[in-house]
Symmetry: C2
Subunit: 471 residues, 2 copies
């Protein structure tokens, strides 16, 4: 039974009316300096977890504290990892269950790094809420609590059961989370019908989007050795085939000038672009000039918006990262070149590894060098792709349309967020990335902010998303 | 008036008779741990300088201590550099003047590094004198003192005036030496007719040689920038032309697989090989297999002895040293490739710089990348070449023939010894490298040694060299 427009209006008006209160709650959260990479801040991380537990309990959730074991520090000491929160709100077997993920930890920040305000004191300037964690990811986490609290206050029944997974180690590789989830695959995760994650950003500054894909990665080493010791380039230069020259040649045979990957058949295993997809890319709100200007790039690899976005999101790319074992004055005996491919559907790491290693071996045969050659497939992670037309995404899109008055863009991202794939694998159901912040929120940087309007509209979007899930 | 064969016999017999005494003196020298790179050992360096001063005075030389100013350490402190010794023995205006250079400092050494014996206690095993500095360069320095002392004891007049320059910072870049020599260009150095330096090694283990050439060096940076910040390869890979890909391509355009340098006209400025030279290379005692085996190289760039030696000594070579500014996970905004050319006569650094920079600029034009490109000629040093048929070399060759019964090989080296060129420039006269140690003496390595037989034959060679200079 769909929810009436009046109900939406009541909810949205209530959110507008309480926005100062919501900003105050975010201020409380930002004030807890839960920097997960700093062992000195571990007690703040625990404090943040407990603060969030109370907030969830205040809207009636049952919250379980999942102890997360020990962390081994670089100095050899071990300390407790912050616990993970598993929350449950509602268990009506007739309702679908939505899992919400968010993280409570933040990147380090200090005024001296170039912040205009104290990073741990949420400060509003011209409608922007500056503070560490404002957009990544405390704003979205508390927005969930506000959305639920408003629905409850206005006595609008939530049409789904809710589960929450909130961790406090995301900025430090989500240590322990995947194992904890795996341990609860057949219990806590068993009845999850869909997952919603608000931990990424809009493509631009003005138009909301839903994110349905992430690239994976395959990382390679190429090791070439020419002698038992480093050879002085004066004494030996000209007499032996130097490992570095071989390596530079091999690395030069991986991409064309325009970035096209020269590994045979690599594009054969990329999912073909559909007409539907093409049309979708045409509609995406993305300004090439602004993109170029923001990073002060001297040029872009492709002339059109569609090609640039496809190159970032739905085509593989190859980057050479560097060379290990080189010195400023000697010919190194062994040099190691490092490169990676960002992979996309339908590329599997296994198929990519085979094509890459075959290509490297063929190049080496072609080179005909007497040196020792060892190509290594170092590590890999799969790409993630969701069906952006499923119920989960449709509810997200309708919610955005209600709040922003426009259909969202459907975006992907070029990097990896491994936990997304973990949720999809462990629940076997739809995962959607629903960003609340804008591309200029400066997550991880100085002067991180969340626009007040996006915070409030984000809260409305989350409430509307829940209502749109009504059968 | 040439010296009679009998005189040579008397001198050689005396050296043989006193060899145990000479080994004892070398043992004294090795016991002083004059490691110039270790500020804690600076007093040992000064002690070694003073010990040598006494030895020179014991054969009648007048020795001047040249204070060498201060050394600035990496920790910001300054300490005194060890003084330099300028010695004079004889000032007969009718005689030629020979300058002898040697160094009194040594590389670091510790038993734990893998020495079989205490590195600072000269230890004889199977006719090999193991100890730090035995061959580099204390053995040759004390051999000079012994040679003179024997001539004096046997009342054989030395047919030349002698000057000595002994420093104690050679293993640390000869800090201060060139300036000290420059300061004495018109005084102490004014009447020098030839220089003899015993601070390198035979090409092999069995046949003596005289060294008449060293390659120079031209060192380059190639800087390529693509953005204002490091760009995550996931987020940006595929959208912008990465600096690293451009750099790898540029570096791949510098040499052929067989090491041939691809810089246009670079070989046009190399002195052509003369017939005389060709013949000389054919006669050189050099075993390719042994060379390859010693460094455990997997292959050599050329199939014949003559080509390998010419490639090491009298042709330029190009080595790529590495890439700065690369990270394991990001696309670096700016990367710097480093490479160098070892240069030979008639290449001047100026001419090489022009050809290299022109080539780099042409490559960049060909690449057509929008990125920022900056080729930099970083530093250079000229090649050194002597006339191995001049009086100095002829005397050295005759001396070797007398001691070893064979004509020496005439060799060059692939690296640079800048002080050689400085002596040639400041005196304007012949400089000869007369090595005493063999190629397997392990200078700079663990278990450095000087064969007792080479130490004694070297002493004879130096005495004979002085006698062969009689007009």
């Amino acid at each position: 039974m769909p929810i009436s427009d009046d109900t939406y209006k009541i909810i949205f008006d209530e959110i507008d009316a309480r926005q100062d209160e919501f900003v105050k709650v975010l201020k409380e959260a930002v004030a807890i300096a839960s920097v997960s990479s700093d062992p000195e801040r571990r007690s703040d991380c625990v404090k943040m977890v407990m603060w969030t537990k109370k907030k969830l309990e205040s809207v009636g959730a049952t919250v379980q504290i999942i102890e997360n074991g020990k962390q081994k520090l670089q100095n050899g000491k071990t300390i407790d990892l912050p616990p993970i929160l598993f929350g449950v709100l509602g268990n009506d077997p007739k309702k679908k269950t939505v899992l919400v993920y968010g993280h409570l930890d933040v990147q380090p920040a200090a005024k001296e790094d170039g912040w205009n305000t104290n990073p741990f004191e949420l400060t509003e300037v011209d409608g922007k809420l500056f503070g560490r964690g404002s957009t990544d990811d405390k704003g979205p986490v508390v927005a969930w609590v506000h959305a639920i609290s408003v629905l409850q206050k206005k006595k609008v029944p939530i049409p789904v059961n809710l589960k929450f997974v909130f961790e406090c180690m995301e900025e430090s590789g989500s240590e322990g989370l995947e194992q904890a989830l795996r341990n609860h695959k057949d219990t806590f995760l068993k009845d999850v019908d869909m997952t919603c994650i608000s931990d990424n950003y809009w493509l631009g500054k003005n138009k909301p989007c839903l994110t349905y894909g992430l690239r994976g990665i395959c990382y390679y080493f190429v090791e070439i050795g020419c002698a038992k010791q480093d050879l002085h380039s004066g004494t030996y230069g000209g007499s032996i085939p130097e490992a570095m020259n071989d390596l530079i040649w091999v690395l030069s045979q991986l991409t064309e000038k325009d970035g096209t990957i020269k590994i045979p058949h690599i594009y054969d295993i990329v999912a073909p672009v559909t007409d539907d997809e093409k049309k979708m890319y045409e509609g995406i709100d993305f300004c090439m000039d602004e993109y170029k200007k923001d990073i002060e790039a001297h040029g872009l690899l492709k002339p059109t918006k569609e090609e640039i976005l496809m190159n970032r999101w739905r085509y593989p790319s190859l980057s050479i990262h560097g060379i290990e074992g080189a010195f400023s004055n000697s010919g190194a005996k062994t040099v190691i070149g490092k490169f990676s491919l960002r992979i996309v559907p339908n590329m599997t790491p296994e198929a990519v590894d085979k094509l890459v290693i075959d290509h490297l071996n063929n190049l080496w045969k072609q080179r005909g060098s007497p040196n020792h050659f060892k190509p290594i497939a170092y590590h890999s992670g799969s790409a993630w792709l969701a069906d952006y037309k499923d119920d989960n995404f449709r509810a997200g899109a309708r919610a955005m349309k209600r709040v922003f008055g426009v259909e969202p863009d459907y975006t992907r991202e070029g990097g990896s967020i491994p936990i997304t794939l973990a949720f999809q694998d462990l629940t076997g159901r739809s995962v959607m990335l629903l960003p609340i912040g804008a591309c200029d929120d400066m997550a991880h940087s100085q002067n991180e902010k969340l626009d007040r309007s996006n915070y409030i509209k984000g809260t409305k979007t989350l409430a509307a998303y829940l209502l749109e899930l009504a059968e």
